[in-house]
Symmetry: D2
């Protein structure tokens, strides 16, 4: 038995937890004004080759998304997202609750393109409509796909042409950047986006997202506090990100998550299972016959149904993480083989 439900089923990577333990009884000032947050922010600026970037640490993804969006938009401005975008589907209207419309474009592979963005922009021509002002993308996307550097450059050009901000949700940036298909770097993101974040929750932290603002926003901390997003013991975020970003830990453990995903994918493919939407990251979407799925669940395996294919088959989602043992994958493949 093992849960492939998501990449946040466990606590923190042991190195991260140790860092929290080591610093536990130190006294620091609150709300992220401590030396650990300062160090972690500097590490990020260095990795991004972005000495001017403003870095803020937040607890979770929805919080980060709503803050990054609402703090940059006037009330009549809107954000453009893929129809599958996390901000459109999975945040209980968090963006709308801050007053902004999410304008969507139908993106079968979860990725926005300049042409999709322009189809939205061109449909908003007057004061009787919202004014699209930001493009929201995720890397990796909600369905495990990746942006290439060429694609991101093209989006940047499109945004510049139309006066749009470009925001990249990096909740799964670790998995994205350690995929063999990836050609993007942190300096690329700092140069090509107006803001992006390095997700910790889904890659080894107890919690935490590091939001990098490449466009200035002098009062971002006011927004944080107003939305209940300023952690009292803010240094917890600094300590964790410092640990993750030292000695390449963040990317090493993300690579492990990917490796486990590929091992799972290749093993299942060898058993004849199909993956209709190929994913180069730590989320894999095979088709399972419903009776096999039920048998696996009875054995204690956990994974989520994604979409019915027909009455007998379902696309399911398997997610691996920094914590997934090789043995768990191999045992699963053995058990799956035995199901047939």
């Amino acid at each position: 038995m093992y849960s492939f439900r998501n990449d946040y089923s466990e606590g923190a990577h042991p190195v991260v937890l140790q860092a929290l333990t080591d610093t536990n009884l130190e006294q620091t000032s609150g709300y992220g004004t401590d030396p650990y947050c300062a160090e972690a922010a500097q590490l990020i600026r260095d990795l991004c080759k972005a000495p001017e970037a403003d870095v803020h640490f937040l607890v979770g993804g929805t919080q980060t998304n709503l803050l990054a969006i609402t703090s940059y938009l006037a009330s009549y401005e809107a954000v453009i997202a893929a129809h599958t975008g996390h901000v459109n589907v999975h945040e209980t209207g968090a963006i709308e609750a801050t007053g902004h419309k999410v304008c969507t474009a139908y993106a079968p592979d979860g990725k926005l393109t300049p042409s999709l963005v322009e189809s939205v922009v061109n449909g908003h021509s007057s004061e009787h409509m919202v004014a699209p002002k930001m493009v929201y993308i995720s890397d990796s996307t909600e369905i495990g796909t990746l942006y290439t550097k060429a694609e991101l450059v093209a989006l940047r050009e499109c945004c510049d042409k139309h006066g749009l901000l470009l925001f990249l949700d990096g909740a799964r940036l670790g998995s994205a950047f350690t995929s063999p298909d990836n050609d993007l770097t942190l300096p690329d993101l700092a140069a090509l986006t107006d803001m992006f974040y390095i997700g910790g929750t889904k890659n080894g932290a107890l919690f935490g997202e590091a939001l990098v603002l490449n466009s200035p926003n002098a009062h971002f901390r006011w927004h944080m506090k107003q939305r209940g997003a300023m952690l009292a013991k803010g240094r917890l975020l600094g300590v964790q990100f410092k640990a993750l970003l030292t000695d390449n830990l963040y990317f090493d453990i993300a690579k492990h998550a990917n490796d486990m995903a590929y091992r799972l994918r290749d093993g299942m493919a060898a058993l004849g299972y199909e993956f209709p939407v190929p994913s180069p990251t730590n989320q894999q979407f095979p088709v399972l016959p419903n009776d096999i799925a039920a048998k696996l669940e009875a054995m204690g395996y956990v994974f989520e149904a994604q979409e019915a294919v027909d009455e007998n088959n379902t696309i399911v989602r398997f997610v691996t993480s920094w914590a997934t043992p090789v043995e768990a994958v191999d045992q699963f493949l053995k058990d799956l083989a035995a199901c047939k």
Copy 2:
């Protein structure tokens, strides 16, 4: 040197941190649907003798306040608070950002009374004004004072008379309940308020507040998610509150914080310092001559200026916590004596 700036300068109580470490590699479901949250919630229901109460775990105080308020109010409804109320002063308009007015009454000791509440209610008589619907109080208050049971009963009766909900912010409930002046219990709060919370951030947790809803709110989790307040690894909150609420740890360590405050107060009083507003809890507000304050700061002591008394003297705030060592207090008193 020691920081008396606040009660969240350190990390977690070692027992709490150990519980996080012990459970770190377990896999659980996310968002607070795990067994630890269930256990902690049951512990709280038991301690409150409130088998029907709904318990939700949140990361911080502002988040908890805004959720408790906005999830119970219609948009034209308002919350009544003391002018010093945390929701009125120290949350960057978080309540207003969810659309609700905070109606204030001037309460010199930080405590609302039925007569103050009625002065607000009576001033709101028509559809041209907001409709006050909730009373917000804190125990202990922002200035360290306490509600007695008789006072809380009177507020409950006032709320019932006027159709108001009663919300008690317990960010510092540990300190309040372990003060010699306290005569309230958790079952009292469950019986007398519509919702209250047990603050973890300021009493031994890394972070976390346990919100107890005595009035039903079936969609509270939708509100949580919408405001970015649903922690992915929600079990971190359950694990911490389970640890805190086992074997009376929560109250034992709060009593320590109070004891340190009283030791500090008595020692300073013995040195001739005055405390214009007496506080029976872990926040103490002595008057310091500015030159003495400067000397203490030069020695590395940290505390906050609260209010100027005159050009030479300032009311300052000292806060003790579960982590404050006796030695730190004693050394401070010695250093203070040497300042004179």
Copy 3:
């Protein structure tokens, strides 16, 4: 020359203006608490055979839509609309500005069906998503189509099944109800919807919409005031609706608008112009060659481009009103014939 741009290019029907003139110097109480609003509300209850209905008079359509929606929804609840729905496209995010998501379904003819509604409802299953709670439809729709009674009954059943409120935007209800294709009545709307409105702005009033609430909402006036929607001289709305609803004026003049639209349509059809989406109401959508359109505009005719067909042809919108003279239509047809 004549403007077919919309049905609110002129002021009020002379009978309505006369009523305003006749009552101009009377003194009444403000904010809609006057006898004229009471009389007009009673007239509407009588016409709707809905003695319990609550009637509120508002100045404009966006105001009415946002109030009808936000006053019935909790913050995490959403409204379902056709992708062409006015609240989705043409109100600058007014619904989102009150905190609610608009969930859309692609409806080529501008009309929602139970199956479209259910496709949205079924996609929203947990606290990670908004909870659809209301269905928004327009009659006539934004593209001039009509709901039949059978269709409205089916939507009502669908709404009952899923616990949804049904809101009908009647900005162009006059045109809808006087179309030969219509089989709905005001009592039908009172029985089948939770709220609907009778549009005045687009049918003979200077301004004004009469919102009929069939589901109780005791504090609706608080919402009105909060959104700046309570007219000081509220009796202006009562006076106008009393005039419109006396002696069938409202429907007589709406029928005239439709008759002018059919005369225009039939005349253009006779000249060989095509109407890809047939409309039985006062909005008509012919295809015009761009050069013909330019000639007409040069003659002073006004109408709006709707959608390009190809590089030489455009679907345009012609709108007629209570004020459109037969002569204007005939002259236009003559001028159009001369263009060819």
Copy 4:
């Protein structure tokens, strides 16, 4: 019998109504893009000697206040008002519903001073508090008092010093500017405020407020539409303001309102009634014995109770308007004399 309840009990001044009648059947474009709005805006710019000012016409006061405030503030920014300020007390939380806190200062005469403004500004020092960004004042105030030019200059300097915007609510500007105590002019307001409005609703229009923006706000019309404040037949506002601002009508009729107020005040004073707060405008606040008030009401006189003086006496409010006949005042004074 006569109603002194307010200055919007009647319809429009006959000249205004005639202008609406004269233009009734003209066709114009909608939403305030018509020639009448353009002409009225130019008249206002000329009267204000402010060729660069941006003028927008809105239907009512609450709508105007909420738009002027929310369109200039970021979500964490707040507006400062007197405790009696209309936006604080009489708008059902309209400002908070757009997300902004109203910070209040206790101003016994309804007027803010630099020192009151600074007391608020100085109390808001960090990201844990809202950031005051705008000062809201009314002229005449809610209790009938006036700002002098020296006072307004001082407020402007205070605002400049602290980076604050200054917004003047002119719902009763006509009465203010035609008071013998007034020394302000429209060019003064254009020079000294960032935005102000010329109130029509309370001085001869059916409805309407002309908002003058001296600080640029390129997307103000997006805000208008989003809040349901863009009148379809916007030219109704332009027609009315053009009529009011031609040949000094606006000020002539405001002066009449004031004259009637002074006649009432002087007559009552001669009968021995006291006016604890002197008002130089069209609102007068005498003390009436409750039995006298009851007799007057029985005769059909209407006025509002403001505040109890003791159990036998009440401060009441009498309001006169452009429409108040001399005969109504004189008859009232006769009837009052007979009451004694």
